[in-house]
Symmetry: C2
Subunit: 457 residues, 2 copies
Amino acid sequence: MPVPEALTALAKILGDRLSRSKSDLDLHGRNETYFPFAPPDAVAYPETTEEVAAIARICAQHDCPMTGWGAGTSLEGHALPVRGGISVDFSRMNRVLQINPQDMDCVVQPGVTREALNQELRATGLFFPVDPGANASLGGMASTRASGTTAVRYGTMRDNVLGLEAVLADGRVIRTGTRARKSAAGYDLTGLFVGAEGTLGLITELTLKLQGQPEAISAAVCAFDEIGPAVETVIETIQMGIPMARIEFVDAATAAAVNAYSGASFPEMPHLMVEFHGSEAGVAEQAESFGALVGEHGGHGFDWSSRPEDRNALWTMRHNAYYACLATRKGATALVTDLCVPISRLAEAVEETRADIAAATIPGPILGHVGDGNFHAILLVEPGNTAELDEAKALSHRMVERALRMGGTATGEHGIGMGKLGYMDKEHGAAWDVMGALKQALDPNNLMNPGKMVRQG
Amino acid sequence: MPVPEALTALAKILGDRLSRSKSDLDLHGRNETYFPFAPPDAVAYPETTEEVAAIARICAQHDCPMTGWGAGTSLEGHALPVRGGISVDFSRMNRVLQINPQDMDCVVQPGVTREALNQELRATGLFFPVDPGANASLGGMASTRASGTTAVRYGTMRDNVLGLEAVLADGRVIRTGTRARKSAAGYDLTGLFVGAEGTLGLITELTLKLQGQPEAISAAVCAFDEIGPAVETVIETIQMGIPMARIEFVDAATAAAVNAYSGASFPEMPHLMVEFHGSEAGVAEQAESFGALVGEHGGHGFDWSSRPEDRNALWTMRHNAYYACLATRKGATALVTDLCVPISRLAEAVEETRADIAAATIPGPILGHVGDGNFHAILLVEPGNTAELDEAKALSHRMVERALRMGGTATGEHGIGMGKLGYMDKEHGAAWDVMGALKQALDPNNLMNPGKMVRQG
């Protein structure tokens, strides 16, 4: 096992920024959900691209795996170094390098978190819109092609990364994309590295698109007897071109959980929560047009507001919905599913899932990003109860099969990581072999986050 | 030379849909701009994916190059079979296979043109927004990552292809993406094939996003003394979040050409032409907000209208601007440049280019998609005058160098083809080698559109 030689060489260049402390190894071997503990042999804390390149050259020389680490908020165990080697922790590469207000872009290191970036942007009137809920690192968000509540308006990380710098498995440093808004110059390497989960290289810099803070924001909430008419309302809203900045669904169980957790008083019914960005007159008009559609589809209690305090309360409740669901079962851990289907199939997918969970012994509130056809069941499992975990996995398995049958995907935004690798063949068929060929071309010795993404030898 | 054996085998499966007629070879050896005639050895007209796959298997067996052909509207000679072999002409694969109004997507064969698709969509209230001007095929548009006047609002082909089917160099058929709106499942192969210019495979089917026809459209036109304040107006409009569906720039020379060609009466000054999509009240508000910014920046003659006839007249003039410029010099052919820079550098890039052209002996009106920082100089050359063509190439060369120096790209939307291959090294550096490695992984015998995109051995 050549890793010890790699560690000796790495310690020479990194000093005490190569850590083998138990607490560091423990932290980088854990994950947010249910995957087994898998610690690295050491944790490297590079401070520059040149250091990352030097790390990669040493690891290549000694055949030592490298797995990137951002904020550790992945729900699919992406950052677990399942074949050992080193975790490359980007927390010291956390500077915002440029903010270009005229071009509405910025250049950041991968360890900057989304909240830290938005804090720095506050004075500029700009913001970075991708919002997965957790205060993830932007490098991690790019690597997992993250999205969240605002994707319906602003897109996913795929749409918001203009270019990047990456260190390849052999230590070469490449730059992809430019600061131009569009380009037809060659293969879209930016798009290839976004969502590659660190298996093709380590992202060391990102150029991101920014958005102007809207002049006005309005938010609305309403209840429905069934999911079907709620989805119909959303479909018609989109078809009419009413631009929603967020359009979220929570089921009755989630509404009840939010009531208990946040002291809200939602009726225990399916709800839509929506936000509009635009001019004062524009957001008022949009909310009213949306309200009319809600009424046509039998929605109840439609209420909209442009007061920031009402809006913040609503989205705080939505962001805390995951914790609210967890709190309904004391001490529970969650297996969180992440289907995404064509929106025409969404109501059917949610209803089938709802019925499947109702027949199980474990609870599983459902919530999601209805404008994208993406929803999550939060399957609540007693820690250490393997029967329950197996039941959750079986529910999750049937959900994925359902999504694929409906022309959708196993994962809308959480990524493959450890949890969805078993579905790559079924979802992609021969295209999965193409992914393997690309991996082989760029990382022939399988040192970049090995054990993930491609067919395992 | 093994091509004759390939042709014999191809004729067996295609019959008279493998053509060696002079007119067919001539047509597929020509291009819209200035590249030398380069005919194929034969033209194949497949009708199904299975036939394309069979063609690829035969070509692979006999080492015969394959180059896709859509509508032949490329400005960079993409479809020229510069190393011989066969042109694969997709004109018989021109069916719209699915229109899914609820999901706002459709599935098309690659030979469908953009106008034909929009014609079929007319009754649905939906439209496909990407508009490069020419009535290109959608397969060609995807392969070249085309965009045009509406990219500022609706994005480029990168943003509007949800998934695709492609035939690889060895005849394997793959499907990328799904009909879900987003996915975090694996490498973004859709993005890799969009813009690959047929060098990784032949696209045989596309799943495209559609947009709802806006309730109302308003258009506006205004003049400026200089390009600088025009660009400032656009930057502030974008920063304020006023959603422009089109925002086009034409310089004084183009305005004069349009007057002569279309009987318009624009002052001979730089102009902005803009379009807004939304509700009745929304587009009125947007036009007025934009008009206020125009006034603040010293713009003249601001005039907006939501009457379809006014709007159509404006965009017909804009779409004909290329022909209007050509008509200013009888019998001229054009070398059309395609820079794209960060918008903060756009005024400077246009001004430097303007001065450079003014010092040359050939005319070169400038127009472009100012919201994307993308502009074209239409360099007008007397056919057969090699001194003029050399001068145009030298101007184009300095323009590309200028774009790269300003953090931009050699091509915003026309692609690499034959004309920009010489800039790939400078624009991409080590990333160009990565492109070569990907090409090698998927097409090791260099049969897919050889002579393009990657470093030439």
